[in-house]
Each structure stands twice: as structure tokens, then as C-alpha cells.
Amino acid sequence: MSLQIISIILGSLTLASALMVVLSKHPVRSVIYLVVTFFFITSMYIMMNAQFLAIVNMIVYAGAIMVLFLFVLMLLNLNKEVEPTTTIGAQFAAFIAGGSLFLVLITALKETLILGQSYRHQDNQIGLVKELGNLLFTKYVVAFELTSILFIAAMVGAILLAKREKQIIE
């Protein structure tokens, strides 16, 4: 029962902080709230015994990526800039669209086979590093190797785009 309560609290906090990401006027606050959101998500992973992912999520997302975001924000020195606002109409439309999207998704939940089913605790070791490592380097080794292309490409691209051209300096 305590698990239940913790889950509910975590879930609510996750959603609340996610909402704050969207709602806060200042981008830096958005970043902070996002980190908080990630933190809660990580804790949910732990609740589901997905330890490896929890660690990765913490390190990669909350750590690396979010720092990158902050870094870029600082680099562009935007914190003083007035946050651009959206018209009420557009907000309303977006809200309606989002709401209906959510409704639609909830419909998917309804009558689903797994509705109301609890965790299956009998095989809860899958989220451990060992299990996943096994899987990653046997069944998904091709995919794993191929991500190197992704990274190379992303790296090349990032450098290419972010690098200052000489002409611009001169």
C-alpha cells in the first residue's frame, strides 16, 4: 500500500513539474523543472526495478543533456531577454488539441488487455545491468554498433553547425 501511495505522489509530482516546464516564463526555470521531472521519472524507473535505465536516465538526461541545455542558454545569454508570448487563441487551440489527444490516448487505455493488471514480480530481474547487458551485446549488438554512426553524424553535424565561420568573425 505504501508503494501505491508513493507511486501516486511521484506521478503527481512528475506531472506537476512537467507542467511547470511548459508554464514557467523563464527558460532557465524550465530547465530546472525539467531536471526535476527527470528526477521523478528516474524514481519511477526505480519503482519498476529498471535500475540500469534509472542510472542512465540520471546521468545522461539529468546530467549531460540538461547541462548542455543550460550551457546553450548561457552561451546565447538569453536569460535577460523577454520571453516571447503566445496569443490566447493559439494557446486555446493548442490546449484543445492537447486535451483531445489526451482523451484519445485514454481511450486506448480503456478496454486494453492489461488494464488494471499489476506488476509481474515473478521475473523482475530484467531491469538489472547484467540482464540488459546480455541482451544488448547479443541480440541487439548490431543496433548498438550502428548507433556509432548516429553519434558520428551528430558529432560532425554539431561541430559543423556550431563552429564559427571565419568569414563571420572577420
Binding site: 484519445v104 490516448l105 481511450t107 486506448a108 487505455l109 480503456k110 478496454e111 486494453t112 488487455l113 492489461i114 547479443t138 541480440k139 541487439y140 549488438v141 548490431v142 543496433a143 550502428l146 548507433t147 554512426i149 548516429l150 558520428i152 553524424a153 551528430a154 560532425v156 553535424g157 554539431a158 559543423l160 553547425l161 565561420e165 568569414q167 563571420i168
Partner: protein, 443 residues
């Protein structure tokens, strides 16, 4: 698989050569890489790849790989002109194209949604960069921004669909998904919504209405070289992927989607062709035409097992590439249609390639475009005859768009100014022209 390795290596090599400001060597290396990849795909049936023992492998048909390689080859040649002059980014451009092609090969005919997704990202991310490669241009930057955000948004949607499908079936393997779904998709709204999200993601990739918005803006912002690549390879890959994924997942029940597909087809074709009519920019025109062509491609989903999309996409690519090449030939820095006035008179090869490409796009026999359209319609007509009727009406509008462009290009100028094509452009135009005609062997 071997093709991917070859492409990756040549991409890396190209990157290093490019750093030494040797654009030609980079081009040669990339071309060799592409040729090697195509050959590897061709000979793949001759020996067994050691990696094939693993469950998650890439079962792509060699024909698709070869087509992709050839199209990319033509695209980099056709767009090379610019990079010879500004050799700053040649290596980057070429290697990014090659990396992206690796992704395309991965995702074109997947049997596993995970690999498919990774492939999709490998395909997309370099293109986000490529669109913005003209760093000094505001339009290019805007295009990159728009493409990146819409693209990642669509990726998220697609991913969500994959997740839902997994939730409904417990697997990423298409075969397993199919067998788990065999009890009936209508018992599982989750699977249904998942597939719809998937479909939306695909529709974004090929640029079908209403997921087409990125197309015109991004095409216009991108340079000709990138446009050539992305307007062909992305679409080919996208349609192959969707046919493959849907063909396997809904092996026996794909007709559930037919009315939605019909809607997409009709919307895309009418919207694409009609909007193309009033365009003043060549790239936007091509973009809207590609939206309409995406609609046509979706005909492949009407009868997944019997459809033959190869011909159509090949014809589409072989018609689009020369057109963009000619746009590059007309004016490197502007894509206004006024540059096209009387362009056929500047060079006979341009004239011939232009006429054939436009007629091929309009689907007039005996050019390749007709056979493509025919093979699509052939399988689709028994299933969605009324959609086919509407699509053909839209094709008439489309023919108008192409004929208008043709008339513009063929208008006899007061003073004839001759202009020479560069060597690569000549090769591209020659090859595409010949291949348009050699579609005759299909008769």
C-alpha cells in the same frame, strides 16, 4: 549490412579527405563507397554475412539498396557543382550524406522496430544538419530549425506509436507483432492507436497531408544538393518502410486502413498539385509536387502484398534529380521560376532531360513515370477504385503544373545564350535521361 559498413567507412574517409580541402578526392571516395555499397548489396546473395546469425539483422532487399545508392550517387554528382567552388564543407556534406544513407538502408525494409527507429534517426539527424549547412543563410537556418523541430516531434509521435504497439503485443519484431495481433486488432485499441501513430510518423517522413508542412519550407531553404538528396532518398525510404512495416504487421488486415489511406492519398494529391500551381519558387513547386507524389506512393498500401513501389519511386527519383540539377544549372543562388524561362534553349541536353523528366513526372507513357504509376494503380484499382478515379483527376491538375513548367522552360528566348553544363551535371542528366527512356524495357 555490408553496404552500411562500406558506406560508413567511406564516409569517414571522405570526412578526413574533406578536411584537407580536396573536394574532388572526397567525391571520388564517396562515389567509390556508394558503388561498393551497391555492389555489396548486389552480391549479398552470394555469401552469408556472419552477422545474419543474429536475430536483429537488416533484411533489406538488394534492389532497394542499389536504388538508394544510385540515387545518392546521382544526387551528390548533381549537387557537386556548388561544393567544388566552396570547398569548405564538401567533406562534411558528403560524409553526412553517406551516414544518412546508412540509416536509410537500415530503415527501408526493417523486420524489427528498434532497428527501424535507430535507422530513422540516423537518416534524419544528418539531414537536419545538411539543411542548415549553408550557415550564412537565414533561410537555410530557418529551414533547419523547422525541419528539426517538426522532425523530432514526428519522431516522438512515431516512437509513441511503437511503444503502444509494443504494449499491445509485447514485441518489436514485426513477425511477432503480427502473430500476436492475429487475434484481431479490433480487440486492442492500443494496437490500433499505436499503428495510427506509426502511420502519422510515416506520413510525416514521406510528407503526406496533413504532415507535409515541413516539406515546402525545408525544400526551399535547403541547397539544391541537399534538396536532391532529401527529396528522393527520404521519400523512397519512407514509403518502403511503411509498406514493409504495415505489410508485415497487418499482413491479413491491412484493408482496415484503406479508407484512411484513401483520405491521405486524395488530400495529398489534390493539395500538393493544386498548391503547386501558384508557386513562384522552383523548390517549393518541387516540394508540393513531392507531396502529391507521396499521395500516389501511398497507393502501395491499398494492396500491400501485390504492390510494386520500386518502379514508381525510381521513376520519381530519376525525374526529380535532373530537375533539381537543372535548377542548379539555371541559377545557383536563386530558385525563382523566372530563371527557368527558356532554359531548354541554353543547352540541348538540358532540354531533352527536362522534357523527359517532366513528362515522366506527369506520368505520360512510355516514360518511366507512367510505368511506376501504372504498377501502383494496377494493384490498387480493384481495392480502391474511387480513390483511383480521384487520384487521376488530381493527376490532371498535376500534369498542368508540370506542363506549365515545361512551357516556361521551352519558351523560345529572344536571344539564345548557350551555357555549358559541368561534367558531373552532364553525367547526371545523361544518366537520368537514359534511364527514363530505358524504362521501355519494362514493356
Amino acid at each position: 549490412m555490408d553496404s552500411i559498413v562500406i558506406l560508413f567507412i567511406s564516409g569517414l574517409l571522405g570526412l578526413f579527405v574533406g578536411m584537407r580541402r580536396q573536394p574532388l578526392s572526397a567525391l571520388v571516395i564517396s562515389s567509390l563507397g556508394l558503388t561498393g555499397a551497391a555492389l555489396a548489396a548486389y552480391f549479398r546473395g552470394q555469401y552469408t554475412s556472419p552477422l545474419a546469425a543474429y536475430t536483429a539483422y537488416i533484411p533489406t532487399q538488394s534492389a532497394v539498396v542499389i536504388l538508394l545508392c544510385i540515387v545518392t550517387l546521382l544526387a551528390i554528382w548533381g549537387g557537386y557543382q556548388r561544393y567544388r567552388q566552396e570547398n569548405e564543407h564538401t567533406g562534411d556534406y558528403l560524409s553526412l550524406v553517406l551516414f544518412s544513407l546508412c540509416g536509410a538502408i537500415m530503415m527501408a525494409q526493417p523486420n524489427d522496430l528498434m532497428l527501424f527507429f535507430i535507422g530513422l534517426e540516423i537518416l534524419s539527424i544528418p539531414i537536419y544538419v545538411l539543411v542548415g549547412i549553408e550557415k550564412g543563410s537565414a533561410l537555410s537556418a530557418e529551414a533547419a530549425v523547422k525541419y528539426f523541430f517538426t522532425g523530432s516531434f514526428a519522431s516522438a509521435i512515431l516512437l509513441f506509436g511503437i511503444a503502444l504497439l509494443y504494449g499491445a503485443t509485447g514485441s518489436f519484431q514485426l513477425v511477432e507483432i503480427q502473430s500476436n495481433l492475429a487475434i484481431g486488432i479490433w480487440q486492442s485499441p492500443m494496437a490500433m492507436i499505436g499503428s495510427l501513430f506509426l502511420l502519422a510518423g510515416f506520413a510525416f517522413k514521406i510528407g503526406a497531408v496533413p504532415f507535409h508542412f515541413w516539406g515546402p519550407d525545408v525544400y526551399q531553404g535547403a541547397s539544391n544538393a541537399v534538396l536532391m538528396y532529401m527529396s528522393t532518398v527520404v521519400k523512397i525510404t519512407g514509403i518502403y518502410a511503411i509498406v514493409n512495416v504495415f505489410g508485415q504487421i497487418f499482413r491479413d488486415s491491412y484493408f482496415y486502413w484503406i479508407d484512411l489511406i484513401s483520405l491521405l492519398i486524395v488530400l495529398s494529391m489534390f493539395y500538393g498539385y493544386i498548391t503547386a500551381w501558384k508557386q513562384t519558387s522552383f523548390k517549393r513547386l518541387i516540394a508540393y509536387s513531392s507531396i502529391a507524389n507521396a499521395g500516389l506512393m501511398l497507393f502501395a498500401l491499398a494492396d500491400i502484398h501485390n504492390s510494386n513501389i520500386f518502379l514508381f519511386v525510381a521513376a520519381y527519383a530519376f525525374a526529380t534529380i535532373p530537375l533539381v540539377t537543372i535548377n542548379e544549372f539555371a541559377d545557383q543562388n536563386s530558385d525563382d521560376l523566372s530563371n527557368w524561362e527558356g532554359i531548354a534553349w541554353k543547352n540541348p541536353l538540358v532540354g531533352a532531360a527536362l522534357v523527359l523528366a517532366l513528362f515522366s513526372l506527369a506520368g505520360i507513357p512510355p516514360l518511366a513515370g507512367f510505368f511506376g504509376k501504372f504498377s501502383l494503380l494496377w494493384s490498387a484499382v480493384p481495392h480502391i477504385p474511387y480513390t483511383a478515379v480521384l487520384a487521376l483527376i488530381a493527376s490532371v491538375i498535376g500534369a498542368f503544373v508540370y506542363l506549365r513548367l515545361l512551357m516556361l522552360a521551352l519558351k523560345k528566348p529572344e536571344v539564345q545564350v548557350k551555357k555549358a553544363l559541368s561534367a558531373e551535371q552532364t553525367i547526371v542528366l545523361l544518366l537520368t535521361t537514359i534511364s527514363s527512356i530505358t524504362a521501355l524495357y519494362l514493356i
